[in-house]
């Protein structure tokens, strides 16, 4: 932490000097106690950088835990709902974890750096829960959130830009793979991961080389129209790609105060993440019960008619409220008006036709719109380049 940042309540990331320069409209937000840009110059242009060229997002505030030791895999396997043994070395897996009641605590990614060496990236601060989970396991857990700077480099030209920045043969890296490089004498890890649903990478580097790497990236990326992007643009991209956001699409169980406000993975469309074949994981008994007895909610993607985002809308079925929207956006590339909603069971099966009650205002004039919408079973944006190896050249 620099002396300068101690003068403020908010922390700054290792990229801050560059971000401050790039942030033309001074639109700042707070993420995990860090001051982070909501937007640099124009939300839509930033969004289009992700989809058409390369968008760079400062990921540094994300919580990073290094988990090592003989029981590291067993430890994670008891903690998260999926089977961690299926994540190979130098591979990344999405994971969710619950408390004993099967309520979602958080979601994140597990990077397997070695047979007994993992990095867990979580949305929430998770130190205490990890400590409890470690009881009875031979593992070491280190919070390395501040020891690693991270950038998401996302978009069709991202592979080319990173290759020019020194990541040779990056196009050979498969989705969810990790490649290791060196940058100015320090290790640089690149994972083919992201929160945009596009071709994209995340880079992990020591904080003291953060600025130098940023400079290199923007220098080689200039011709490829590389742009920094803020959290608003990222939010549109992640909704378009169908990604959940903790604290937005579900309340992490440790934060929920009111009974019944938490959600289980089964109620968030994450059945595919829950491996009941495992003999034990946190929440297994409760989730088995819920699987047999039925969920209260179903998490759905809605294709909403028109172009007015269904933010915070009630969802109606035959005039009766059956759910609410948690995230919504007009998605420019998919050219659709998408919303995530929690729908009371038994409503919301794929194909179900519902109505979103949308309120919007134009020049002090409020309009109530009853927009028909349809439950779709997959996100509408899913480009081939996201999966292709080698990554297509641009």
């Amino acid at each position: 932490m620099s002396a300068e940042s101690r003068d403020h309540m908010l922390l700054t990331t290792p990229f801050h000097s560059r971000i401050q320069q790039a942030c033309e409209i001074n639109d700042w937000g707070i993420w995990m106690g860090y001051t982070t840009p909501n937007a640099y110059f124009d939300v839509e242009l930033e969004y289009f950088a992700i989809r058409s060229t390369t968008g760079v997002f400062d990921l540094s505030p994300i919580n990073k835990y290094r988990i090592t030791g003989p029981d590291a895999e067993a430890f994670l396997n008891r903690m998260v709902t999926r089977d961690v043994s299926k994540i190979g070395v130098n591979r990344v897996g999405y994971a969710v974890w619950c408390n004993d009641a099967g309520e979602m605590l958080d979601d994140g990614t597990i990077f397997r750096l070695g047979p007994q060496d993992f990095r867990l990236c979580s949305y929430q601060r998770t130190d205490e829960w990890l400590g409890w989970c470690a009881l009875g396991f031979d593992v070491q857990i280190e919070n390395e959130s501040e020891a690693i700077a991270a950038l998401a480099v996302q978009g069709p030209t991202s592979c080319t830009v990173l290759t020019l920045a020194g990541c040779a043969d990056l196009n050979q890296l498969k989705p969810f793979g990790i490649a290791h490089y060196e940058f100015e004498g320090v290790p640089l890890a690149v994972s083919r991961t992201g929160f945009t649903g596009d071709l994209g990478y995340e880079i992990w580097i020591a904080p003291d080389k953060a600025e130098a790497f940023w400079d290199r990236l923007f220098e080689v990326g200039r011709d490829y129209l590389i742009k920094p992007i803020g959290s608003y643009a990222l939010n549109i991209a992640r909704i378009e790609a169908g990604f959940l956001q903790a604290r937005v699409d579900f309340v992490p169980a440790e934060e929920a105060v009111r009974p019944g406000r938490t959600r289980s993975p089964l109620e968030l469309g994450l059945e595919w993440q829950v491996d009941f074949g495992k003999a034990l994981f946190n929440g297994r008994e409760a989730l088995l019960r819920q699987r047999d007895e039925g969920c209260r909610y179903r998490f759905v993607l809605l294709d909403v008619e028109g172009n007015k985002p269904a933010d915070h809308s009630f969802i109606l079925k035959n005039g009766k409220t059956v759910g609410t929207v948690t995230s919504a956006a007009w998605c420019p590339t998919a050219k659709s008006n998408l919303a995530f909603a929690q729908i009371e069971m038994p409503h919301g099966a794929p194909g179900d036709e519902l109505v979103a009650e949308i309120y919007y205002q134009r020049e002090l004039h409020w309009t109530r719109l009853l927009a028909p919408c349809k439950v779709i079973d997959a996100p509408l944006f899913n480009p081939a380049r996201r999966r292709q190896t080698p990554a297509p050249p641009h």
Partner: protein, 519 residues
């Protein structure tokens, strides 16, 4: 095909009771214990070739009469002595004699004597309500079924039938401390302390600790279920262990002593048996653990085999105990100042005042040993001559409050503390030290090592309202069955808790039979 229907870990009284009821219902049951004799805390200790004494528990008062009848323990050799009075020894020799409903001596005022009668009656009315709850599995307050609803309904009805004043009083005092309640009723400091002792035995609570009214009611509830007054088991408490083992065997249960269980085994998502220290593996449909919850979940099963929230609850479960055991072999019968020889066979307690009790607790809280302790003394050899050879006697006493792990360590401290305890006894029984031929102090740490109870706590976890009834030992494991399939709790860590009652073992067995878990 499994080796047994059920394996019971621990041949303590609860383990044996559970095994007996299961075996009686036709199940194939194996009881395993690391020690060489059955009974757990209800067992004997051979102090010398000629002297035997009850090792941990020394009085029987709470052992459920229905269990004695159901398991025909009398036919299996259980013999109980006469009902004892409690004699509260006073420094001035003006001792108090406490019986079920009356108290005398010590220059007590008529007011105090009246108050005692009223107090005991009211407390017994309250305890009667608890007795109802003790006889059944604890009802769940949420996700109830009809069985639980009926229990709650009866409890509600019982509360209502107490009448308005009693109900109000119970609500008022249930969660406060015995210190305040006793001060409301009595003047004599020695009388209050003798009563308060019953509320703190086996714990690290002082009279002013919260939950001590509840622990007092727990004691009275046990008394109602049990012998309605304390008595000795003839032949020592070990004779109860033997009788229970006989009963279990008579129904076909197998008991293997000297067979310590190393771990509880799991196959996929359920418990499938146990592994012994010897390496032998034995399979069963269910494993019932009469070990305390911490031993069961942390040592035998292992935290990695349960969900994190449960591990967290086990870690937070309070098991501290400040109770130690003193065994003294005497070359003759001691004389206590002001006490007729005919009273020596009764329960003798040393507890000067409730404030003194609090002062005695303070050092123990911080890992130190104070100069004065509380005593709960039995000289069993007076009534039961078979325990000793001619002329000698054995004195055994519960001692409060000694820390489990003093900062100095017990090795160097123990001889000094033992001396100090004998000195303290000398103050009440001049000349007793010259009669001592051998003496032994079992600290809470020794009790832990000997009986495998975490922190040496014979309640298998502090008996406070947040760890009792529908929350014993902790949410998720409250109706004997645990979140781990096939693992059942049947010891004092399960409802209704500690003391030589046998109720936890019986309730657990009933719950298993009722649920058809062995068919």
């Amino acid at each position: 095909m499994t080796d047994y229907d059920a394996i019971v870990i621990g041949a303590g009284h609860n383990g044996l009771v559970a095994a007996s009821y299961l075996a009686k219902a036709g199940s194939k049951v194996l009881v395993l214990d690391g020690r060489g004799q059955p009974g757990g805390c209800a067992s004997n200790r051979q102090l010398t070739e000629a002297v035997t004494v009850s090792d941990c528990a020394q009085w029987l008062g709470q052992f459920d009469r229905d269990i004695i009848k159901d398991l025909k323990l009398m036919e299996h050799g259980l013999l109980l002595g006469e009902t004892k009075q409690t004699i509260a020894l006073q420094a001035d020799g003006n001792h108090l004699t406490l019986e079920e409903t009356d108290v005398s001596g010590g220059g007590l005022s008529a007011d105090d004597q009246d108050a005692y009668r009223r107090f005991r009656k009211q407390m017994n009315r309250f305890a009667k309500l608890i007795v109802q709850l003790y006889k059944k599995r604890p009802p769940k307050l949420v996700d109830q079924n009809w069985h639980d609803r009926l229990t709650l309904l009866k409890l509600g009805l019982g509360l209502k039938l107490l009448g308005r004043e009693d109900m109000r009083d119970l609500m008022r005092i249930a969660l406060i401390n015995i210190y305040d309640v006793l001060n409301e009723h009595f003047d004599h400091p020695g009388l209050k302390a003798a009563l308060a002792l019953d509320a703190v035995t086996g714990s690290t609570m002082g009279p002013r600790s919260p939950n001590t009214v509840f622990s007092y009611l727990h004691r009275l509830a046990g008394n109602q279920l049990g012998q309605q007054g304390l008595c000795q088991v003839l032949g020592g408490m070990g004779a109860l262990g033997e009788a229970l083992a006989q009963a279990a065997r008579s129904h076909g249960a197998t008991i293997r002593l000297n067979s310590p269980v190393q771990s509880i085994m799991k196959e996929h998502d359920r418990v499938c048996g146990v592994k012994l220290d010897s390496g032998e593996q034995i399979s069963a449909k269910i494993v019932m653990s009469s070990a305390d919850p911490v031993t069961t979940f942390k040592s035998l099963l292992g935290y990695r085999h349960i969900e994190t929230g449960m591990a967290r609850r086990v870690e937070h479960y309070r098991t501290r105990s400040g109770t130690a055991k003193l065994h003294v072999v005497l070359s003759g019968l001691p004389e206590f100042s002001g006490l007729p020889a005919t009273s020596l066979s009764h329960r003798l307690v040393i507890a000067p005042s409730m404030d003194a009790m609090e002062s005695m607790l303070n050092p123990a809280k911080y890992g130190e040993v104070g100069g004065q302790q509380l005593f709960d003394i039995s000289i069993p050899s007076i009534e039961d001559k078979a325990l000793v050879s001619d002329g000698t006697h054995v004195l055994t006493s519960l001692v409060h409050y000694l820390p489990h792990s003093p900062k100095e360590g017990w090795d160097s401290l123990k001889p000094r503390v033992l001396d100090r305890l004998l000195d303290q006894l000398e103050g009440y029984a001049p000349g007793i030290k010259s009669l001592v031929t051998s003496a032994e102090l079992l600290t809470p740490a020794d009790l832990e090592a000997t009986f495998g109870m975490t922190d040496g706590n014979w309640h298998h976890g502090e008996l406070s309202i947040d760890q009792a009834l529908m929350m014993r030992p902790f949410p998720g494991a409250t109706q004997y069955q645990t979140p781990v399939r096939g693992l059942v709790l049947c010891g004092a860590g399960a409802h209704p808790g500690g003391g030589v009652m046998g109720v936890a073992g019986r309730n657990a067995a009933r719950e298993i039979l009722r649920g058809g878990h062995l068919s």
